[in-house]
């Protein structure tokens, strides 16, 4: 049963990733500026050299042919050649992916755990205005441009270490905080929670067993979004912090219309998003039946108290 579910997810992920690569390549191909090269403005180049540059760029004009060649290369472990950086894409990925994954990991963990912790604290404290400080702080994080956040951390660099991680954390935090708090507050108003509080169960037990646990499936969905959000934010953050990761690579590839690099990054992002979201879905599926049981058990516990 579980194996069948996993197999289905893997198949879905594979097909979606392949489709994502093709659609991404099509978007790039149809975008303006595809196939041009800034070397065309170099006045030293002869007409023959300029024509050679154009012909080389025109090779990728037929997107179906390009994508077929790309997939054939992918099967051999060859991700293509980046014209903008003049190096094989696989080499670039090998150098840059670990750096981005570490930044994303730290950033998402720090941002999500802080957001969730503050949301839990706000709900547990229950005082009017309890969420004033976190709300203002999350509002500031949302209102400040990513570039400014990144620059602030850069300036603090010698004291706090890798700036991009903290900047990513600050981008993820307000989303996680706001959604978590809303969900936890909504859950806290369910009848069985009110009953549990009235029956005198401790605040901590009510919070953990009857507010957080039923809300956990929705909160798990935040994981996938946080990863997508963090990756999206990593592009400007890595550009500004000059972190040589995948985000900076993606920006460079977009500016240069580097098709093999862009398609590979699209495939990578699709894979990452799908894997994380699939895990969240599996968690949601696993929780949903027991979640009802938990609610029922919670009600039973309250009734028997």
């Amino acid at each position: 049963m579980v194996a069948a579910l996993l197999l289905r997810q893997v198949r879905r992920i594979l097909l979606t990733v392949l489709l994502g690569g093709l659609l991404g390549a099509t978007l790039v191909r149809l975008g303006p500026g595809f196939g041009v090269d800034e070397r065309e403005l170099d006045t030293r180049l002869s007409a023959g050299s300029q024509q050679a540059i154009r012909s080389e760029r025109d090779r990728d004009n037929n997107i179906a042919v390009f994508y077929f060649r790309y997939l054939a290369g992918l099967a051999r472990g060859d991700f293509g050649f980046s014209r903008s950086l003049n190096r094989p894409v696989s080499e670039l990925l090998k150098e840059r992916l670990p750096l981005t994954m570490v930044s994303l990991g730290y950033g998402v963990l720090a941002g999500a755990s802080t957001g969730l912790a503050l949301a839990l604290l706000t709900v547990w404290w229950r005082a009017p205005g309890a969420d004033l400080v976190p709300a203002v702080f999350s509002g500031l994080c949302l209102a400040a441009p990513v570039a400014v956040i990144a620059l602030v951390f850069l300036w603090l660099g010698p004291w706090i270490g890798e700036a991009s991680r903290w900047a990513i954390a600050l981008v993820v935090f307000p989303h996680v905080y706001r959604y978590s708090k809303n969900q936890l507050v909504a859950t806290s108003q369910w009848p069985h929670v009110v009953a549990a509080q009235a029956k005198g169960l401790s605040g901590w037990r009510v919070l953990w067993a009857h507010i957080f646990t039923p809300a956990a499936p929705q909160l798990a969905a935040l994981a996938g979004i946080s990863v997508s959000l963090a990756f999206g934010a990593s592009i400007p953050i890595e550009v500004i912090c000059d972190t040589p990761g995948i985000g900076q690579l993606a920006w460079r590839a977009a500016l240069d219309r580097d098709l093999p690099l862009l398609v590979t990054i699209t495939v990578l992002v699709a894979l990452m998003t799908l894997v994380v979201n699939s895990l969240a879905d599996l968690a949601l599926a696993a929780w949903n039946s027991p979640a009802r049981s938990t609610a029922e058990a919670g009600t039973a516990e309250v009734a028997s108290a």
């Binding site: 500026g33 041009v36 800034e38 006045t43 050679a52 010698p158 912090c241 040589p244 500016l255």
Partner: protein, 537 residues
Amino acid sequence: MLIRPAIVFLLSGALAASAANELRFCLRADPKTFNPLLVEDESSSAVRYLTGGVLIRLNRYTQELEGELATKWKVSENGRRIDFELRRGVRFSDGSPFTCEDVAYTMRQLMDPALHSPVGDAFRSAPGEVETKCPGPSAATVRFPAPVAALAAQFDGVAVLSAHSPQKESAVLGPFELGEYKPGAYVLLRRNPNYWKRDANGHALPYLDSIRLEIQQNRELELLRFRRGELDLINKLDPDMYDRLSSEMPRAAVDAGPSLDWETVFFNQVQTAPMPEYKRRWFRSSDFRRAISEAIRRDDIVRIVYHGHARAAAGPISVANRFWLNPAVKAASGSDTAAMALLQHAGFRRSGATLVDSGGNKVEFSMITNAGNKLHERMLTLIQQDLARLGIQLNVVVLDFPSLIERISRSFNYESVLMAWTNIDLDPGAQMNIWVSSAANHQWNPNEKAPETAWEAEIDKLMQAQSASQDLNKRKTYFDQVQQIVADQAPVLFLVNPDALSAIGPNVKNAAPAVLDPQTFWNADRLQVGGTLVSRR
């Protein structure tokens, strides 16, 4: 008895200084290639400059040619032939000897049409083979199928490769050799132990042990690191950062004066461009173009956008290019009266607050520029207001660079453009592909089958004449005329020549920033960082 400990102390001090004798500055991007013949981007060019040995070097400070690997040279046959007397006793970084064979090998590689080398293309004045002969191990003769303008100066960009070394391009003749390269992080150059040059006291050059080129795209970060002492120089500063730095570290910020670069505006004059016919008539009218030029307040651009670190430009030669400048050509005055007079002469008139042409069409057009360039965006906004005073509505459009290139080079779907040009060459021969009407870089109307106007035909004739002549004074006369025609017809409106701004750290010695690139490290073999000179004999 006391002398020995003192000597030991001094030596250890010197050794300690040499351990820190590393120059650090930034490249904006990873070098795309370490093959000196294929260099096209700025980062690769910096590495080539520091590692490549050349026969003739243009001294960036004095703007004079100096012999490097060639002790003497002679240009003859009207610019078709150049004879070199090669320096003896020179070795590549791997110890292999430098001979004429290496020059011949380099020229063969360079002129291979399949290579599409920009440096090679600069020599390609006509089809045909380039012959390199070695009358002796220390003599080389290179013969071209047709005259090459400024032949000797072109060799400044030709780094000589080793014909025999197993290290291939890694065996170099310059002051530094490639030590380490960590993609996305840095390039480390180490001193070439076999570098031939010595200073006046016989000390072996370079003084530096190494140069660390950090790969840093973000200019704010670069400035931050310079302030913290993590970098020793910044090769190019923008005006905002220059002012910020000079308020905190006044001696570090250097303004070497106007550079060779241009900020320009040009109009789309392509016959087949997708635009209404009445707009095409505007852009093809020299009165209209000169009127726009007159209306633009260059002094405001210099003061507001460049904070005074620029000079109003009159034509295609910067004031920094002392020999080739035609002093008779003056920058437009920024006078609305003069502008209106030209417009009226061309049949335009005011209709209330709006300018209309003779057909009653409101004068409204767009000007594109590349996004992400704050200086261009500010310039465009100033120009928008300047033209509004004449009743012209200018629509500002910023586009990402590939979209902009596509419009000006492929689809010609634009009306006017604000663009920067980087000039690396003093000689106007390098501008052939801009002024000759049949060239691809004759940007406002490229690849003309025949000159479409009399003045373009005249410019074609003059450019060919200056290219074919070896007499410097005759060439100057021809190009002075080109400058005058350009001023009269205004196919390109020259706005400003930005100053060459850079930053030199307090611990860097012998720095002498120049206006020609590389501004700050053109004399890298003589730069020192802190400490005392380590004597190397």
